[in-house]
Structures are given as C-alpha cells and as structure tokens.
Symmetry: C2
Subunit: 613 residues, 2 copies
Amino acid sequence: MTDLSSIQPRSPIELYLKDLHERHLNFREGQVADYIPELAGADPDWFGISIVTRDGHVYEVGDTRQPFTIQSVSKAITYGLALEDRGESLMLSRISVEPSGDAFNAISLKADSGAPFNPMINAGAIATCGQVLARDGLSRIERILAYLSACAGRRLDIDEKVYRSESDTGHRNRAIGWMLRNFGIIDEEPTDILETYFRQCAIRVTCRDLAMIGATLANSGRNPLTHEQAIDPEFVDNILSVMSSCGMYDYSGEWLYRVGLPAKSGVGGGVLAVLPGQLGIGIFSPPLDTQGNSARGIRVCADLSRDLALHLFAPGAAPVNALRLSYDGGQVASRRHRAKKLHDLLRGKGHRIRVVELQGELNFPAFEPVIRFVLKQAPYCRHVVLNLRHVANIDKVALKLILDLRRRLAEAGVDMVLCNAGLFADDMIEQGIGREALFVDDDAALEHCENALLASLTGTVEPGTTRVPLAESTLLAGIDPADIEWLDRRMPEHRARAGEHVIRAGEAGDSLSVLIEGSVGVYLPSPTGGKPKRLEVFDAGRSFGEISLLDGSERSADVIALEPICYRVLDLALFEQLGSERPALKLKLLEQLCRQLSGNLRKANIEIAAFRE
Amino acid sequence: MTDLSSIQPRSPIELYLKDLHERHLNFREGQVADYIPELAGADPDWFGISIVTRDGHVYEVGDTRQPFTIQSVSKAITYGLALEDRGESLMLSRISVEPSGDAFNAISLKADSGAPFNPMINAGAIATCGQVLARDGLSRIERILAYLSACAGRRLDIDEKVYRSESDTGHRNRAIGWMLRNFGIIDEEPTDILETYFRQCAIRVTCRDLAMIGATLANSGRNPLTHEQAIDPEFVDNILSVMSSCGMYDYSGEWLYRVGLPAKSGVGGGVLAVLPGQLGIGIFSPPLDTQGNSARGIRVCADLSRDLALHLFAPGAAPVNALRLSYDGGQVASRRHRAKKLHDLLRGKGHRIRVVELQGELNFPAFEPVIRFVLKQAPYCRHVVLNLRHVANIDKVALKLILDLRRRLAEAGVDMVLCNAGLFADDMIEQGIGREALFVDDDAALEHCENALLASLTGTVEPGTTRVPLAESTLLAGIDPADIEWLDRRMPEHRARAGEHVIRAGEAGDSLSVLIEGSVGVYLPSPTGGKPKRLEVFDAGRSFGEISLLDGSERSADVIALEPICYRVLDLALFEQLGSERPALKLKLLEQLCRQLSGNLRKANIEIAAFRE
C-alpha cells in the first residue's frame, strides 16, 4: 500500500459535459449561414461546449479549439468599449436599450430621435462602433481587437477573407450607416465605421475563447487567468443587461424565460452565455435556426441551464448571509494568560465581548442579516469584534454599512473593532475608520477588548502591569508558607529587557519560569523566515515552560519579553532536588500543575465546542 | 454599571430608508391616473417604501399601510396561478413571452397565432385570467384572491367601487377579450373572464403587502412569515422572467439596464420589485409618468438599486464557494481515546482522512469548486468526510453531484461519507446513498474513518477490542514492575454490562479508572431531557475520571459502557495511601498524568488552530 492512490478519480462535471455533448451530437436541424461563401463552408458537424469558472478553471468537450468568426457576439463586448469611451448617458441618448421586436438587420430606428432600439441589432451595433474612439495611436479596429483579446486572454486575429466578403456584400449595412449619419447618431461619414464593423465581425475566436470572455464578464470584467482588468467593472452590468433583454434576436424573451442567462449569439455558430458572478459558457455549432441563433447551441444551453439549475431566477440559487460563526469572550478568550484575579473577572464578564466571524462576499443582502444580529446582541455587550478572515470581498455598500453600524453602536456605548481586514484595511481607513479599530487577527482584537473591559471593571488604565510576588503566583497558590520560603531561596531571579529572548525554539526544555513583573509573548518562528506568529502572552503571576520540563521535549517556540521583565526559574536540578528533599512539596506542585493543565484543557474543549458549533 | 446597555442602537438600514424617503418627498412629477374617478381621488403625496427580506424582516417608512388597488401588479402573480393550472407548454402556446414594443393597452396579438406578446400587457393578462380554472368549489376570482392573499400573508379584499368603475368603462378590454375568443386563446365567451380581470385589478393591497409578495417570490414562492408555499417553486423563475423582460411597460429594457431587478408596476401607484433569493421591495406613490409607471417609484428604485448595489448584474453580487474549512485526520482526531499503539498509528497516518466542511446553499456554482478541491486531495487520502452542518440548502443538481462524486471517488479507492445531513438525509437515501455512509456528526464520521483506516493498516477487522493488561495501560507506561504489582494488588477490578452507567454526572469525583477490556462513552446529559450528547470514547488501555480526582470537582458527565467492560479503580483513599507509603510512585503517576494532560492540551491547541485557520 503506497501513500498515493494510483487512480485519479474522474470529475463528475467532465463526465456530465461529455454525456451532454454525445446527447446532442446527432441533432441536425438548422442551416449553416450562406450569405457569404466563407461561412457556407463551415462543417455542420463542428460542435464544442466549454465552461470556464470565475476562477479560470476550463471544462471543455468537442471542437472547442476550432477557430470561427465571432460575428454578432462581438456586439456585446464592443458596447462595453464604447461605454468606456463615451459614458452611459451619451450612449443612452444615441442608442436605446429596448427590445425592438424587429429582425436583426431591420433599419429599426426610433421615430423621434433616430436612435437604434438597442446595441444588439445591426443598426445599434454599427452606431456603437462609431462611438469607439481612435486613440493612443491605435485605430478603432485595433482598439476593439485589443479589447476582445484582453477578454479572451490571448491575442485574437481577423479572418481577412471573411472580412472582404462581408465588406463586398454589406450594402444594407451601408444604408443603415448613412441613416445613422443622417440622424447625427454618428459624428462622421460612416465609411470607416462600417469597415471597422465588418472587421470586428470577422475576428476569429474559438468556443473556449467565448467561455473565457463569458467568465471575464462573470468575474467583474477581469480575465480569470491573466488577471487583466479587460472591461471596466462599472460597465459590466450594462453589457449583461442588454444581453439579457436583446441578446438572442427575437428569441430574447423566450430565452430569458427558458434559459435565464444573459447571452449573445452570432451567425458563425457561436453562443456566449454568462451566469453573472459565477461562470462563462461557450457553445459552437454552425447550423442556425430561423431566428439566426445556433440551433444546437440553443438546445444545449437549455439543457445546461435545466440540468445544472443555472437559470438566473432558479429557486434557491442565491446563497447569502455573511454570518459564519459567533461566540462570546466567555467561550473563547485571548491567548493572554493573566493573573488569577483578572482571569476570574474575565471568566465572569467575558460574555460582554461578542465576536462575529463573517464569510464570503459582503454586499447588502449578505450583510443585512449581520446588522440585525449585531443590533440584537448590542444591549448585552460592550465590545463587538468583526472577524473578516473569511471575507472574500466587500462592496462599497457593505463597507459603508460597516462604518455606519460602528457609529450607531458607539452612540449606544458599544465599541466595535475589526480584525483580519487584510486587503480591505486601506479602504476602511480611507473611509474614516481609525487604525486603532483594526487588528491583525482575532487574538489581538480579543485581547484589546479584554483589556478595555478589565480597565472599566477595575478602574485602572492598564490592568496586569503590577508586580506579583512569588507567593501569589498561580503555580504556588495554596502552598505552605514554609515551602514557598524554601523555593524562594532556591529559585534564582532573572531579568530581561523588552524584546529580549527568554527562551529560543529548539533549546532543551530544562526549566519552568514564574513571571514576577511584566509580560512575555510566545512566538512560533516562521519556517520561511517571515514574521513570527504570536501564540500566547503571559502576564506577571503566570508561569511558562512547564510542559518541556515535564516531558523533556525541546522548546517548540520562542519566548520574548514584551517589556522589561523579572522572572524566577525552577530548573531540572531543583525539580529533582525537590523529589528527594521535599517530596510532599513536589507532589503538591505536580498536583497544581495537573489542575492548571486540566483547567487549560477544559477551556480548550469549550473553545473547540464553540468552533464546532 | 448594569449588565444591560440602556440604549438600543439604531439600524443604519432604517436610517438610510428614512433618508431616502425624505430625499424624494418633494419630487412632484407625474399625474395620478384619472380614467376612473376612484383612482383620480388618490392623494399625490402618499408615499411609502418597504423592504422585506427573505427571512421576513420588514423595513418600512412612510405610507406603507395605506390601501390602494393592485392593478397591473396582479398580472405577474396571476400568471403563476395560470401556470400551475395549465403547465408551461400550454401557456407558452397561448401567450408568448416576448416584449412587444407596443403600449400596454394595444390589441397586440401575434399575426400567425393570435397569441398576445406577453402576459404583462392587457391582452396577455386577460388571456392569463382565462387560463385560471374555477375549481375546488371556488370561482376564478376567489382562487386569484386566495392566491394573492397567500403571497401577501394576509387576507386581501376587493375594492368594489373601483371594480364597478373599471367594469363600466372597460370597453377596450372587452374588444380584446373577443379577439382572444376569436383566435381560440380562451376557451369560452370572455364575459366572466373580463369581470374576473376587472375584479383582480381592484384587489386592495398596501406597500408593505407588495414588498411581502416580492419577498415570497424571492423566497422560492414561500411566504417568509406564514411559511405557506404560496406559489409552486417550479414557476417562480417563469414569473420573474416575464417581470424582467416585460414588467415595466415600454420602459422594461431601460429598467433592466438601470435598476436591474424583476419588477411590475400598476396604475394605482404601486411598484413591486424582487432581488431573487434575497428580498422584496414595495413602493407606493400614485403619480404616474407617461409610460404609466409610478414616477417617484421609478426614481426611488433606481436610487435603492444604486445605493445598495442591488442590480442583478452588479459586480461581485454573487457570493459562492461552499467550501468552509478543511483539515485532515492528523490535525483533528475523533474523541475516541485509543490504546497507545493505535493512537500513534493514527498520528502518523491521520492525513489520509480529509474532512471538508461545507456551508451555505449548495448549487452548481457553489459546489463545483468543492468537487475540484476534493479531486485534488483524492490521491493523498483514503477517506473523505463531507460535513454538512452549515449547509442551508442542497438543490437537486448539487445532490446529484454529491452522489456522482462519491461514485467517482469509490472507483479510485477513496471512501466518501457525510455527516450532519439533517433534513437532507432522506433525500440522499432516496437517491441511493446507503445509510452506512451518513453519520450524525463529524465525530462519528471521523471515528468511522479512523476505524477503517486502522483496520486496513493493522489487518484486523475491529481494532482496539482486545484486553490490555494494567501494566500496558497508558497511565502506567514506564512504571517499575514492583510498583505496578503493588497497584495491581490494591486496585479492585469492576465489570459493567453494555449500557450500564459507570459514572453519573453530579456524583463526587473520588476515583480514576483504568479500562482493561471494552470501551466506554462519555455523555453530556441534555438539560431538556433530550438525547444525551456523546463527548468522548475511551478504549481499553485508557484511563478516565482523573480530573475530578485531582481537583475534587463533581462529575460533569455520564460514563456508560458501550459493550461489556472490565476496569480497575484507583480511588481517593488509595491515592492518599500512595502519598504516605509510596511517594515516589505517586510522583511518577502525577508526572505521567501531567504528560498525558500536556499531550491532550497540545492536541487541543492543534485542533483550535485548524478551526481558526
């Protein structure tokens, strides 16, 4: 039996797509477009299906690498470029976004303004081309080609033969161009714009490219593999909206009804569909139905949507609620080991600290239940910690709501802090949250809240900084004064400066230390030489290093003084001397250690239960 | 200082809605509908905003309890009832779902079939009314009223005066009715159907009702407060689709573009919008714009959508990835304390068990990354546990994928089990997953995997059932034979039958036990008298009850024999006798206990780190 299984299991999703492909292989309805000979030559049996997830994983089956011309699928993407060049309000004033009810090549212009009904019909697409600016030393078509290439994540090219043919036969489109010029929808004579349009339609793509462009739209305009921001995220919803209402010619209403995905098809046989936020789909099959959509493409998408429940409005399709877990400071404490009195105070009042772990993408629907939860807890607590460790993204709305919530809580005397803000910290500071409210991790945030709670309960500003005599240390609680005196004479006193190492990982563990003044941090050295991770803090009155002393193991972590400290040391030699000279004291110490360890274990088990909840 | 804060903080969402309401209070464009005197009497200043979340929380500001007639908003809901009565294909054959481009009251019928363009124009809505069946002893209008009432979660009624006026003046609609009869779109003379339609439009609702109906649509057709399944979930996506493409008259394309929410308006001044899966919105403001939509309603919805980023296609609006947490059996072990040899074996090979915690709603986009993650782990493990504890819902697709994944893993020699399946267990068993693959919680699943792994590593079927002599128990490892003999003569042997209590919670803790044969379970009695929760299992060779013996606390849990057991007892008297007669042995035992507790604490800290990750 080896440690590696020899067989890699097969993905049920790949098997499903293979089956879907086979199921539709023999469907032979529709006619390959034949208005130019270059399209008429397409093999009606070419058939590819590709799905690309938001994080760039590619599923593909069939002829997914066969190049073909993008045709009308380009209209949706060029619309994005025109929006970037001209802005939403100018674009809406020139090209409407209402479904027309007319054929794709009709000269459908609004009676009053001459505005094409929408950017997905030829009139609207030519008008859209005309809004793209020639700039940065690039012509319109060079910019369109670069834009589409960025979406696809590879350099695309133009099928010059198809372009020639389109241009040679595109007289109806020329008529549309001049009508647009007549109404002032385009600012110049249409000649160059039309050649740009013909070239744009002749850009060569594959089925995989279409799915990748779809995934780029699903991923807020960022290509999931190259990570290039191909489309300004501000305009992604505009593109998806016109695809939803007008993307599939006169079948758009029924497509939304049956398939329920923003999509665009082209007479080359391509269909691009998007499940916003999730994935892109590319289908390639040249035979077209009477509405000009890939006949097999429509059927495959309908099956995909039904089989995988991808319809935009599919019941239960939207997971929300950013609340991952919540516990209070009585269940989970910081790793700071405080003097007994403070420790006991916190055990009694720890429930006044409330930790809320969030998850996923924070937007209004996901964060709204969190607000309700926190407001419900507010009357019972003084401190709230929002742990953002598992938050993937925070939109502007949620960011504003976090700040608003903090303000409202402050009015009611509740202090809210955040931890693990990571990439979002800068945005938060920019929005006016003070740096003092942001903590590197949940332990640091918890400790801050505990300190503040203890300060308010004890009336001192910095609880835990006083000197604790050996007799009052947790380890020696309840030990006879004579025994303590015996130890006091034999345990040497050491001092260390702030930042000095008291213990180094890897050393032999031959002593335990009782901290008399100040506090120490226990740090796990990073194996990669990075910043060490702080595991625990011990305050005056607490002891550390017992476990290595007891089981003889080497030190697993560094112990570093956090301020000038004073500590007393009980080493192995003294521990053995105890066994022969004062066995009763050694017994008591061991019983004390057992109790201390039992207590820590109980506490750890309560924490585990809180995390397993 | 009391334990309760006296001030309840204010919700930032309520404050936002109050501000939004104020911002639009002075917007006075539009005309109140005046084609019948009952509508003309509406106060143009009435203005309400209401949002109801998927779980039934109501936010409201302004005139949200002012009754008004539902008018065309009813068209969307009645369409659902007709679908339930007639099915999708018959409905599609009689009423198309394409945007018309014509006015709402045009006699827009398709040239070939006479089918109305869509159910949101009058022709389509009257045709829809005609598909609703009179049944269960109820007339058409009684069924429609009951259906809408179930959506709103309260009994609605009809404004008889408005109905009378609508009927007295509805001649154009009568013409439409007869055209529909002419084309055979309705099966009977239109007279009764038209009166039903007029009455349906005169149903009285409030702004809050509209938001609640929206939340019912957002919640897969189930009213979030009454929990009644008001609309068959199969047809919720159909309703939302026609609202998206045709809900806002000739403004539908631009509405989807700007606001991006399925919506329906009525001439009574109501607007109902839905963020699928999340929430319902109701706006009430009687003055209408030239397209017949509430002028203020449109502006408020545009602001709401922008301010709260509710657009269907808003970037980052879709949180996914059901993967909550993953760890291996080397990081987190079951609560079964095994004999040392097996314990050590598991420490070395525990990574061959992989636990994957899932969360949220499992559908294709959320579960797909989990499949990839598990397949990537598969070559390194023999056992996979899917923990469903935090899963809110599993759709049919994800259910099938779970089963497929299990089958594919089995082919590669990897065993996948599930735990915390809860409500989904029955569905899983129905789909063919064996009961033996479902475990009540993660601990039971982990223990099963550990048992199977140990069986394959040791070649025995039931590892851990053999007798372990006192000298080989974990507690006495390394103790001198003479000491063990001394203990052996003094520790009485006890036996218990399967199911018998060895320790009861609340008893004084005056002994520790070493298990020689069989195993025991530690159970926490339920405070409500329910099923006790199993905390830990101890196998032969392990001891239990030490902590109470050491710190004198009472027993916190029951210990029950899981099979016939044999155990040896070290009680308080013997422990004290040890101190006086064999202090060196007592020291060794305490050191041993300290080491055991230290080991458990280390293990607990590794678990905590895995859960905090």
